[in-house]
Amino acid sequence: MNSMVKGGILLVIALMAATYFMAGDAFTLGDDYINDLTMLGAVAIIGITVFVSLKYINQIKNDTATGELASENWDGIGEYTNPVPMGWAIIFIGTIVWMMWYLFVGYPTNQFSQIGQYNEEVNEYNTKFQNKWDNIDEGQMAKMGQSVFFLQCAPCHGAEADGMDGKAQDLTARMSKEQILDVIKNGSNKLGYSMGAMPPGMASGEGAEKIATWISTGMKGDAPAEFGACSSCHGPDGKGMNGMAANLSGYDNTLLSKVLEHGKKGSIGTMPSFKGRLNKTQVTAVSAYLQSIQGE
């Protein structure tokens, strides 16, 4: 036995002893076969590492290469013209074949797509949304509506939905007198009701004042006689005859869906359309929320 092999055996024993002192108390042999296998693996790794290293160190020390030298020579260091080893050549060609497969068939050109991943995410979310909120109750509905409102509507209507001093519609009440007078004077044709447009000039002067005051104060008591000009479309109770024309007394689901789909331009300013930005449940939820804050 030469001295290197002796050294190797010593090293292996030293390493194993060190391992034992560091981690030996963590398990007892035969306790758990996974632990035993792990330990066996550790022993094998130490042994193989040491002896493979020894083999190559030995080879570097003692081997003498043979063969024909290439013509070039760098500061006395030459190069043999030996053929490429077979194993190496096979791996080289195999890599080229694999590259072709990878480029044209495999990952990533054919499999991963950022947009595909996005679509998956959306589908997954929508399914989850539907499962979770299929049987939603009233209270939850208004809560969902409030959170949608905070994100999408509050920047304009204010966190309290009060329109922030007339910067947008005050949603805790229906339209103000001035707004109604403006609609009577100028008509309205943006919301896409099946009735079509509301013509301008349906009332004027004192009549218009009376109607506007009555509507804006919550339609209490009997309607003024002048409201007859409006009731043919908005209904005697001003509720819009089941969605034929705008509901003048509150924000019902129909009105809200129309406003969200078409946006609105009125005497206060412009509200953008939310078409495609909220799903049906969310629209119903917002309308439930608006109903829950009326008259606050």
């Binding site: 290439a70 013509s71 070039e72 950022q114 947009i115 991943q117 996005y118 995410e121 959306v122 979310y125 994100l151 999408q152 920047p155 304009c156 966190a159 922030m164 910067k167 947008a168 206060i268 300013g269 412009t270 509200m271 953008p272 939310f274 930005r277």
Partner: protein, 221 residues
Amino acid sequence: MFHWLEQRPFFFAVMLFLTIAFAGFIEIVPDFAKASQPTVGTKPHTVLELAGRQVYIKDSCNACHSQLIRPFKSETDRYGMYSLSGEYAYDRPFLWGSKRTGPDLHRVGNYRTTDWHENHMMAPAEVVPGSIMPKYPHMFTNTADIATAYANANTQKSLFGVPYDKEGMPKLGSWEDAKAQALKDAKKVAADMKNQSVKDKVAKGKVPEIVALIAYLNSLK
């Protein structure tokens, strides 16, 4: 050949560079060329919008706002459809931004309106409580630089082939035409605004920066 190269470090380095560059070239360029085509419906900015864009750059809005919606549900819920590279085809320079102190603005025209911007730019915290966005009252008095915007558009047209004056695209025409058109566009924006001094200025043929900026923000869709 290889033996020859092996003995010449300089040429060896050159060949190495060419090999790697070639690989990069065929991987990147075809996809890049495809993706940078303008998407259908993308139009160059009008002169007024370009003037607003200059204000946007000058006041460093892009330091706090990005213009790039990434394809994640959380982003598209808030900002709308994710951005496509072809949408930036006429942006010189693009304003992707790199930091979102404030929200993304790539489609802000879809969900904010002229009157809202007017209130917000004058005093952001009065519209969005706690907002740390600075106030920009000087935009209501400063006059937008329509002439530079026209020159900018003209350069893009002649130098980069941006399709102004083509069918269905914004008109540029002569400086006089462009000036008249910009004023016409400005009047449309001012009609939805409340600030009387701004309205008066536009009526007198001047375009305050805020009008140009709002025209630009409204065009971001």
